[in-house]
């Protein structure tokens, strides 16, 4: 159970990082395409 929780938590965290820094838009204008197109 603990293993599943830790792994699931890790994967969710990775998905959140991808979503927050690449996919979601930013209010400072650092738009997602800007950040990921390089």
């Amino acid at each position: 159970m603990e293993t599943i929780l830790v792994n699931a938590g890790g994967l969710v965290l990775m998905a959140a990082i991808i979503w927050w820094f690449w996919l979601s838009s930013s209010d400072s204008g650092a738009s997602a395409p800007d950040q990921s197109h390089h």
Binding site: I17, S25, S36
Partner: protein, 873 residues
């Protein structure tokens, strides 16, 4: 001029400063216009005029992408210089119709005036930026502000520049929102002073913070290792809790700026170096405090605390930043030395009264008195007295130059001889010295192509590192040995700490700053980072002849007196020629002065067009002129045939002197090769560069000069407008070509070349027209710039290589890749030290460039010695 297109659509641009920029813009617009020659780029007005029917928005986009922020300016009031057809009132373009319908006022010219008035640039002082990610974040934040066309952040001196029509307050707000501090720089000089002061304060603060956090970290480590244990037990639980709280206080006090920066960046969907530090140290602390608070929740093996890691990492990073700050200060010495040349006050004569006023208060038209030994406060024209001015700090010429009434003089130069009064013609930022300082600063902040690589990588780097850290943690948890929880935490923390891209962010700007400063020391003003990079790759240098290889004005190169008395020959010729204003006469008079031959008294002077000059000396006619004329006068010149041949072989003009019917001698007058041209060309050969000469002169002259100067190849009888074709032809053959010229006639060729070198003085407009301007008249500036460029690019490569290798090796090791084979797992403390070491290494390596010396030492008495004189003033 057949079929001239009707130019209607106009773009306002910024940043285009030379013919090279104009060419880039023309070429970029070629797909839209069908022919690059239909595009008119006006550098003065910073406008681009396009043929009718071209989509202005699309054209603006293309030009902006080329690197010159542009926007359409449509309206009948387009500048006359761009488009004289507008005054005839042709039908409005589609774009104008759109504007009219949308209620956009027809304010093209006003808009343009506003844009060009202040150069369209807003400079900001930025605080809190530490790495390539910060640069990226700040540039993006600035670009998001309405009206900003282009934004650039220079990490080396912590300034940002926004180009366009933005509100400065909005720019400051955007940077603040992105997690950094910012203020508008109104007076760049005052800002420099202020920044120096702030840097000093920050350096001290960082050292104090470093001492506190490192002190705690070391104490914890020593205590843990020597007297207690880093493992939580029932007996030491409360002590560790207290120490945990103390660590938290120290972390907040000495590393608070990392957490605040990380949070601000996070809120704006950004991640930077602060993010990695905050996550790394935060993870270590949270894990440790969990162990202390609920040790029973973890297996006994995993009850280890890492408070010392958090404190030491913050301490080491603070130390790294302090060292970095100190080294950064040294890189801008070149600019500081130039700034030190300025006089602080000026002795102005107003209403007949002399008064010392601050140099900032001097107005155009003010009369200024300057005594011997004083630096000139502003540019101007001499109105009273005469003197000799040492201009070496601007032109590199070691000999003081005589100045009399009506001569132009420049700020920052040194009055060595007499007292003069002069009228201010250019003050403040208009002076030649101010323009030079501005150009050096601008070039120091520019980014060569190689540096853009670091930016591209850093934009995805930090989030990627976070993903790697989580992935490494999961791998350790699933397949790692016990205690798995400890290992996963250590691996994740270490990855986050070691990956800070600060070295990557500093690699290029530090080297560029030192390289450009070094080039300025040698009298080469590099205007763009790109030129710095390209100059190192040159394999063909094309030289203009007149004024570049040669002095640009005729001089007596051969002197032959039949009776052997050269001084007497010179005295008589000078006596005759002192009445003439011909350049050949000037050459003879200069030679007479050089040899201290006093001009004899010659009367009845007369210049005979196409023949020579005639006068009367002691009742006899004295003639100086060409062979045909003297032979026609009945003189036999056969005795001087050999000398005449030697003169013509050296591309000189023979002038025969006769008194009555007696032939006295001959002068060879030629545009002499500069004393050091040959040596400079030899240096280019040594650097593996082919040297070519283009000239409008006849083949025989060109051949003679080429042979004497050691030129590999020459092209004679080339018209100024065809020089660019020669450049293009050689580029077509695969050469990376530099063109060296005087910057006026050679402008198209300078623009066509990969690197244009303009030979000009500091006060010359030539500064604005080439990518590199050689302030000294000497050709040595070319090999100097090439050598410095090669050294700088090599230095950047070393830095980038070091930074990349460090990260690409450090991250896998930190993630634990070596553990299965050798059982090595890096400690987070070591990661913190390695990270600091990498940025200190990059900065130190860049500073190594300051010691670089070219293979040719500058002439004694130039910059260095003058700078110290300037400082005394």
């Amino acid at each position: 001029m057949t079929g001239a297109p009707v130019l209607r659509t106009t773009l306002s641009i910024s940043g285009a400063s030379c013919q090279g920029c104009a060419k880039k813009i023309r070429n970029a617009l070629e797909p839209l216009t069908g022919d690059a020659s239909l595009v008119e780029v006006n550098l003065e007005d910073q406008t681009v005029a396009l043929p009718e029917g071209v989509d202005a928005t699309e054209a603006a986009r293309v030009v902006t992408e080329t690197g010159y922020p542009a926007e359409p300016v449509t309206g009948a009031e387009t500048p006359a210089s761009c488009c004289s057809a507008t005054s005839t009132g042709p039908a409005p373009t589609a774009a104008e119709h759109e504007n009219e319908q949308a209620g956009v006022p027809d304010s093209g010219s006003e808009h343009l005036a506003a844009a060009t008035q202040s150069d369209g640039q807003i400079h900001l002082a930025v605080t809190g930026a530490t790495c390539a990610s910060c640069v990226n974040t700040i540039e993006k934040a600035l670009k998001s502000v309405t009206g900003v066309n282009h934004a650039h952040m220079n990490l080396a001196d912590n300034t940002a520049t926004a180009t366009g029509q933005a509100d400065p307050k909005a720019l400051v707000q955007a940077i603040t929102n992105a997690g950094y501090g910012a203020s508008v720089i109104e007076d760049t000089d005052a800002a420099d002073d202020r920044r120096q002061e702030e840097d000093k304060k920050r350096y001290k603060t960082l050292l104090v913070k470093m001492a506190i956090s490192l002190g705690l970290g070391v104490c914890l480590m020593v205590w843990g290792m020597g007297f207690g244990s880093m493992t939580v037990t029932d007996t030491n639980q409360s002590i560790w809790f207290g120490l945990g709280m103390l660590t938290l206080a120290v972390m907040a006090g000495t590393g608070g700026h990392f957490y605040a920066g990380a949070w601000k960046a996070f809120r704006h969907h950004n991640a930077n170096m602060d993010t990695l530090i905050a996550l790394g140290t935060g993870t270590a602390w949270l894990y440790s405090i969990t162990v202390v608070s609920i040790p029973e929740a973890l297996p006994e093996m995993a009850r280890h605390v890492y408070f010392e890691a958090s404190a030491m990492i913050i301490g080491l990073i603070n130390l790294g930043q302090a060292l970095e700050l100190r080294a950064k200060g040294k890189t801008s010495e070149a600019v500081r030395r130039l700034l030190d040349l300025r006089a602080k006050t000026a002795r102005v004569i107003r209403d007949g009264q002399e008064q010392d006023i601050p140099v900032e208060d001097v107005c155009k038209g003010d009369r200024i008195r300057v005594r011997p030994g004083e630096n000139l406060p502003v540019d101007g024209r001499v109105v009273e007295g005469s003197t000799r001015i040492d201009e070496s700090m601007l032109t590199g010429e070691p000999m003081p130059v005589s100045k009399a009434v009506d001569d132009e003089i420049s700020a920052g130069t040194l009055n060595t001889h007499g007292a003069i009064v002069y009228e201010a013609t250019r003050v403040g930022s208009e002076t030649a010295l101010a323009r030079i300082i501005h150009l050096v600063k601008k070039a120091q902040g520019s980014k060569p192509a190689i540096g853009r690589l670091a930016d591209k990588i850093s934009s995805v780097f930090v989030p990627s590192v976070m993903l790697i850290a989580v992935a490494a943690a999961l791998v350790w948890y699933n397949v790692g040995p016990e205690p798995a929880v400890v290992h996963m935490m250590v691996a994740a923390t270490t990855v986050l700490i070691i990956a800070c891209p600060c070295a990557l962010g500093l690699a290029t700007p530090m080297s560029v700053m030192v390289g450009v400063g070094k080039a300025a020391e040698y009298g080469a003003l590099i205007r763009q980072g790109d030129a710095l990079q390209t100059a190192g790759k040159l394999d063909l240098v094309i030289l203009d002849k007149t004024g570049t290889i040669t002095a640009g004005h005729p001089a007596v190169t051969i002197l032959h007196a039949i009776n052997g008395d050269e001084r007497q020959l010179l005295a008589l010729a000078a006596g005759l020629e002192q009445h003439s204003e011909h350049p050949l006469a000037e050459a003879i008079i200069n030679k007479a002065k050089e040899q201290s031959a006093k001009p004899m008294k010659v009367t009845g002077f007369e210049a005979l067009n196409g023949k020579g000059v005639v006068g009367e000396f002691e009742g006899e006619p004295v003639r100086l002129g060409n062979r045909r004329w003297l032979e026609a006068e009945g003189l036999s010149l056969s005795g001087l045939n050999d000398v005449e041949k030697a003169i013509t072989e050296e591309a000189g003009t023979p002038l025969f002197l006769a008194l009555g019917t007696r032939l006295l001698g001959v002068f060879g007058v030629a545009d002499a090769i500069k004393a050091d041209s040959e040596a400079a060309i030899r240096r280019m050969h040594d650097a593996g560069i082919r040297v070519m000469m283009v000239t409008g002169d006849i083949d025989a002259t060109a051949k003679a000069i080429a042979a004497k100067a050691g030129i590999d190849e020459y092209r004679a009888e080339v018209l100024p407008e065809d020089k660019a074709d020669v450049v293009n032809e050689m580029r077509g053959k695969g050469y990376t070509v530099a063109m060296v010229g005087d910057g006026i006639n050679d402008a198209p060729a300078l623009a066509a070349a990969d690197v244009g070198f303009a030979i000009g003085t500091g006060t010359d407009v030539a500064i604005e027209s080439a990518s590199i301007t050689l302030m000294r008249g000497s050709l040595h500036g070319v090999p100097d710039a090439i050598e410095i460029s090669r050294a700088t690019v090599k230095n950047i490569r070393q830095n980038l290589f070091g930074a990349f290798v460090y990260n690409s090796l450090g991250i896998p090791v930190a993630a634990g890749l070596l553990y299965p084979v050798w059982g090595i797992l890096m400690s987070p403390i070591l990661a913190g030290a390695a990270m600091s070491l990498s940025s200190v290494t990059v900065v130190t390596n860049a500073n190594r460039l300051r010691l670089f010396e070219t293979s040719h030492k500058p002439v004694q008495g130039t910059n260095q010695s003058q700078l110290s004189k300037g400082e005394r003033n």
